[in-house]
Symmetry: C2
């Protein structure tokens, strides 16, 4: 830590910003795409924390979410650094925005708000939600449930419902089926205990 630069100073002799992580935790509940919000100082915001020394950004994201919900191995995706000088009046704070997608069953003790109603958040968190939704839709447009919200096995109806909740412009079932089949392995097992013809189970390829 005491390595000096060309001016005879260590890195820690220069002013440094604080670095935070803020995470848009997205999920689907009741057929609606929702984001997890926390209440703080009378406002609503995304869960976040400050980056610790010797900690990766992904670890800080995991730490910030571990308390609020029994979150297992989360795999945050980095979205963007928000760097407006006045975005936090406690000082210069950069926020590295992240995205996580999870089944709603994995979340506890958080407010789930449909993204269409999640406006007026603190800081620049509206913009983070917007980026997160765009990124999620893009990733779901090409591949079946890339975040693994459904677990390892699912029917095409379940998959179609999930994709339609995430993006209402998702194609209807027959087109959707043909687009997704190349990325799926069909199992030789069927759904059980349902009305109508039982559907085949699939795994992601």
């Amino acid at each position: 830590m005491s390595i000096l630069d060309a001016h005879g100073k260590a890195l820690t002799d220069y002013p440094r910003p604080s670095v935070a992580v803020d995470t848009a935790v997205l999920t689907v509940a009741d057929e609606a795409l929702c984001v997890a919000l926390v209440e703080r100082d009378g406002g609503r915001r995304l869960p976040g924390t400050f980056l610790h020394e010797e900690e990766l950004l992904a670890e800080a994201v995991a730490r910030s979410l571990r308390d609020r919900a029994g979150l297992r191995g989360v795999v945050p995706r980095q979205l963007h650094v928000f760097d407006a000088v006045d975005r936090d009046d406690r000082g210069r704070v950069l926020s590295v925005a992240h995205l996580i997608a999870l089944p709603s069953s994995a979340l506890h003790d958080v407010d789930l708000v449909p993204v269409v109603e999640a406006h007026g958040l603190d800081f620049d968190h509206d913009a983070i939600v917007e980026r997160a939704v765009d990124a999620l839709r893009e990733s779901y447009a090409e591949r079946p449930d890339p975040a693994g919200i459904l677990g390892p096995e699912f029917t095409l109806l379940e998959l179609h419902r999930l994709h339609s909740a995430i993006d209402p412009t998702t194609a209807q079932k027959d087109t959707f089926r043909r687009a997704m089949l190349p990325h799926l392995d069909g199992l030789d097992r069927l759904q059980e205990g349902v009305i109508g013809k039982p559907a085949r189970l699939f795994r992601r390829r």
Copy 2:
């Protein structure tokens, strides 16, 4: 700066990482996609600097490039934060990677190296170049010269050559023309002083 948190401490009482910006400056020279590199301590790396207080990331990028080349209004695009704990042995340094694309005529006093030969760079700069090239190709796939490398007016041959240098899988001239025309305004002026039929000039829509 003296606002206290729930533990009675100000933000500056917590350890903070240093934040750097590193920029992949991409250009096309001699029909080849090139990246600008600087020599330092016997290694090659991307131009970069540390973020100053009260400075935006884009401003730090502009500052780091202003010295090395008479760079006008650059519009850096943010790519990714590299956060490995040991990526810089002077201490904990986050690097926010950026991309800029410019005409090679705007660059002076830098080494231009074809991206296919730009390996073995310092830190994690190989990965930054890879991300930058991917991002540039993606942006050029849909729109004509979105970075404005060619200036305001150009022929379709010039545009095609540029796109082909950036991405060798670019379609051939007729398909390329039809794909790009919806995003172009044809002028009523023609190229002058050339062999063969003079080409029409276009502007980005």
